[in-house]
Structures are given as C-alpha cells and as structure tokens.
C-alpha cells in the first residue's frame, strides 16, 4: 500500500518528553522531579462522588457539551474566581484541557492561518496547530522578561495571516505568570489586530502572591477569547481526564460540533465527581496550594544554596533553573544527571528550542523527596564545577 500515512501526522515531531521518558523508563530505580501532575490523591469527597455515581448506575452518555449541572457550576466558578460571565451554552466539558485546545484550534483555523505560540510552553500547541492546517509561529519568551509575553514580541511576528495567539499562564514549564498589567497590552494588541486568544489557564488555581487574572476578563476580550481550563491540576484529577472551555457562542457552537463527532461526551463518572469538586472543595484546593508554595520556597532556597541561577516562578508547580554555566546542552545535562545520580529532570528543550540551557524541575513532590533529589543534583553540579 502506497501512502498509508498522513503526511501531516508523519511530519509531527515526537514529543521531547516522550523521548526522555523512554530513557528514564530503563532506569526504574531513578527518582524523578519530572512529573507534570499533582502528587496529591484526588480529594476523597470527589472520588466518593464518582463511586456514588457508578453505584447509582449513571453509566450513560451525557449531553455532548457536558452535564448541564456541571456547566452551570463551571459558570458559577468562573464568575466567583475570575469575574467572568458565561452562560452554560458558552461552556463545553472536554476530555482534559488538551482536548479543549485541540477543538478550539480546529474550530477557528483555516488553511494557512498563522497562530502565535509563545515558547517555552506545553507540548501540544504546535502539533495541534499543524493538525488544524494552521501555521505555528513561535515566539521566544525570555528570562529577562520573567518569561512573560510582551507586546513587542508580538509586533515582531504579526502578519496579515495571524489569526490567534495561544498562550498559557501560569506557565508550564517556566512557572511564569501574567498579571493584569502584563495582560493589558496583549489584550490591546489582540483587539488592534483583530486576533483571537486561546488562553490555557489550567494552572489558574496555583499562583503564589498574585491572584490569577484571565485575559478573557479584560474589557471587550470575552468575544475574542477561548478560555481553556480543567480539573487536573487544581483538584488533582489528572486521571479523570476532565477539562472545559469557555468561549463566545459563535465559536462554541463549532467547538461542540467537532467534540460531538470526535468524542461524543466527556466521561460521565468524571463529570459527576467534578460537580462535587466545584461545589465543595475550595478548602482542599487551598491546602494543596499552600503545600506547593512551601515546596516552591524550599526548592528556590536549595537552588540558591547550590548557586544555581533560577528566576522566581510565581505559578504552577515548576521551576526553570538556568544551567548555561555548565556549557552543556539541556538534554546532555539531563541524561548525565540521570546516569550519574539517578535523578530524572526534564530538559527545557522538551518545551521548545528556546528552552535550551534550562531544566524543568517539578515540585509536585514531598519535601523529603525534593530534599533527596536536590542533594543528588548538588553532588552532580559540584563535580561539574570542579
């Protein structure tokens, strides 16, 4: 059979994470700071609600866009937390934030449309743009800008074909956030150039110091913003595969259609559990956040002790230390560290070429685990410096 495969699919690069994962999986005794998900179990009351929904025999499809009850809760949550007003027909429940991103891009892109993708960032934006026949245009976020996106950077890459910006703050892998003041010029730029913004806010609950602000909540931005969020990070529910998107009705209608044909509906058990998460788990979320914040401080303190240069992350659960002083590539550093000290840390390049010279260190680990891993990192660094 000739041409068995899609050229687009073949052209996609395998994720850098995957590559590193294959190396790590050959070393089962290694300890890891490489995980992009909470170490907490899903709060019991959420799990219990999932069990109850199964006992009750709620094992059927929900409506395509998701349970009305859940969408109503999502609207209330967005209003309560981020002062955003959505109706339940402007919200879709998706299979994780990832599906929301995919569906959003497919709903808005025509062949040749350009999408600005600031990097380093989550691994799926570029491939999803390509799969939607769009052209990803990457912008390199800089440590001197605290890894924030600036208007100037957008001005350098915008063309007549630019359709949208897809960005994520609090950011994976850098831990950078964008405050209201940082977002305003981006919003103005989007309005001036008539761009859509896909704002992946999956880490919105995890900011330390500043409260999260959504770009969709800024004046006249709702109509051109697709907000992506979900339950994975805030409620420690990664395995439940549940996210959501909120967008103006014209866009949402297309998103629901695509979701309907590709997915049908998000898992029913997860949706019932998520209702409980939004209704009754503010305290648990706050507790987890406090815990992440303590670990964040611990990690930064240890980096300082090791003399490792690291910008202060104010969100998510990652730090992005700079390893340029050692004169080796991120990949090489990560592989050597794994080989010599049996610590798995993801090279920054897994999140875009501009992650070169950095590592993504996850602090979704207990203090004891962090302590051990950092001791080993310290030994490794000392040896390099000698």
């Amino acid at each position: 059979m000739k041409d068995m495969l899609s050229k687009k699919a073949v052209m996609l690069e395998p994720s850098g994470i995957r590559k590193f994962f294959d190396i790590v999986s050959e070393m089962p005794e290694a300890i890891s700071l490489g995980v992009g998900e909470p170490d907490f179990d899903t709060p019991w009351r959420i799990r219990e609600e999932g069990i109850y929904s199964l006992e009750k025999g709620r094992t059927f499809y929900t409506s395509n866009a998701g349970l009305v009850e859940l969408r109503d809760e999502i609207c209330r949550y967005l209003k309560r937390k981020y002062h955003m007003r959505y109706r339940n027909d402007e919200v879709i429940v998706s299979v994780g934030g990832s599906e929301g991103i995919d569906v959003a891009l497919r709903a808005i892109l025509n062949p040749g449309d350009e999408v600005i993708v600031p990097q380093p960032s989550f691994v799926c934006y570029v491939p999803c743009v390509i799969m939607s026949d769009g052209i990803p245009v990457t912008v390199e976020l800089k440590e001197e800008d605290k890894f924030k996106l600036t208007r100037k950077q957008l001005e350098e890459v915008v063309t007549d074909k630019t359709k949208a910006i897809i960005m994520s703050f609090p950011n994976n892998p850098t831990g950078a956030i964008m405050t209201k003041r940082d977002l305003e010029p981006i919003a103005d730029f989007a309005k001036e150039h008539d761009l859509l913004v896909i704002s992946d806010e999956i880490y919105s609950e995890l900011t330390y110091g500043h409260r999260h602000v959504s770009i969709g909540a800024l004046p006249d931005m709702k109509e051109r913003t697709i907000v992506i969020n979900g339950f994975s990070k805030a409620f420690a529910m990664t395995g439940w595969r549940l996210g959501y998107a909120a967008a103006p009705k014209v866009i949402m209608e297309q998103m629901v259609k695509i979701h309907q044909y590709g997915i049908m509906a998000a898992p029913t058990t997860s949706q019932y559990a998520a209702v409980e998460a939004l209704r009754a788990c503010d305290d648990e979320v706050e507790e987890m956040k406090n815990s992440y914040n303590q670990r964040r401080r611990y990690l930064l303190h240890r980096f300082r002790e090791l003399g490792l240069d690291c910008f202060e992350p104010e969100g998510a659960f990652y730090a992005f230390p700079c390893i340029k002083e050692f004169g080796m590539s991120s990949e090489k550093f990560a592989e050597e560290l794994l080989k010599e000290q049996k610590v798995a840390i993801v090279p920054g390049t897994a999140f875009g070429a501009c992650g070169e010279g950095y590592l993504r260190v996850s602090y979704a680990y207990s203090i004891d685990e962090l302590k051990e891993a950092l001791n080993r990192l310290g030994t490794f660094i000392e040896k390099l410096r000698r």
């Binding site: 994962f21 995980v35 303590q294 798995a344 203090i367």
Partner: protein, 164 residues
C-alpha cells in the same frame, strides 16, 4: 505574636515535628529567630504540649492492646467532672481521657498488654471509684488511621516518571 505564622507552624509540625528551624523558616518564608520565638512562646502557653512519635505498635513484637472504655459518673458537688477526671487520668495506663456529650460521660483510652490486664484495671481501679456508675469496655481490633495518618505502609508514587 503572629497568629498566622503560629498556625502555619503548628500545621507543619503537627505532621512532622522533625522539621528544623531553618527548614521551617524556608517553608514559611520567615526567619529562624521568629520561628524559634513563636515555638518557645507556644511551648510556654502549652499550645505545644510535646513532640511525640506516631508508632504502629502492631508492626513490632510488643504485645499491646488498646481499649476504649465508656464511663458514666455522678459529678461531685462543687467539683464537677474535673476531680473525677484527675483520679482517672493519673493512672499511667490511661493514654487519653475525654469528657463526652451523649450517653456517657468519659471516654477512657487505655493501653495494656492483655485483655485480662485491661479488665483487671477496669474492675479493680475504675469501677470501684465512688463516682463511677457504670463502665463499658470496647477493645480495639485494628488501627487503620491515627492522628490523621493512615498506618499502613506508605504507598509508592503511582505516577509515570515523566509526564508533560
């Protein structure tokens, strides 16, 4: 006195009293001096009453049995329950004593080597007290969770080693 700092310290050392001052200062974005002062104050005010270790004796070779004893009493005029409580809690076998609302007055948590030892204590020490009207003894068969901690061995990290 910094109420918020105090509460944060307590929450942390309640789970892990081996965190040292330096670690606490880092975790709570404070200074060692401030933390040391607050802890000293809280010890003085008897907010911190000790630094104990949570032990699962079931996993040791030591024979040990825990019982919960419901005790009904007649409070003494002018002294209420406190005087009787003192009579009871001074026995070293008594690990915990609570005044309860509801069907009985005291919950006595007792530790002994054997069922016989505990029954002997109840019949020879507790029941004969003048104020005690009745007792009902419940033996603990298995401890699953204590002080907010599940006692079975720590679960391994079930996550994949590397994820995006």
């Amino acid at each position: 006195m910094d109420q918020e700092l105090r509460e944060s310290i307590l929450k942390l050392i309640e789970k892990n009293s081996r965190l040292d001052l330096k670690e606490l200062a880092v975790l709570l974005d404070s200074t060692e001096v401030d933390i040391a002062n607050e802890i000293a104050e809280m010890e003085k005010e008897h907010i911190i009453c000790g630094y104990h270790t949570l032990i699962n004796w079931d996993h040791t070779s030591r024979e040990q049995l825990t019982a919960m004893i419901e005790v009904k009493v007649t409070p003494q005029r002018g002294e209420g329950f406190d005087k009787i409580a003192e009579r009871i809690y001074n026995f070293p076998e008594v690990k915990a004593l609570y005044l309860m609302s509801g069907a009985y007055d005291f919950m006595v948590m007792l530790e002994g080597k054997t069922m016989k030892e505990i029954s002997m204590f109840t019949s020879s020490k507790l029941a004969p007290l003048e104020a005690v009207l009745s007792t009902a003894t419940h033996f603990v068969l298995k401890k699953y969770k204590d002080h907010g901690t599940v006692l079975e061995a720590k679960k391994a990290d079930k996550r994949q080693a590397v994820t995006p």
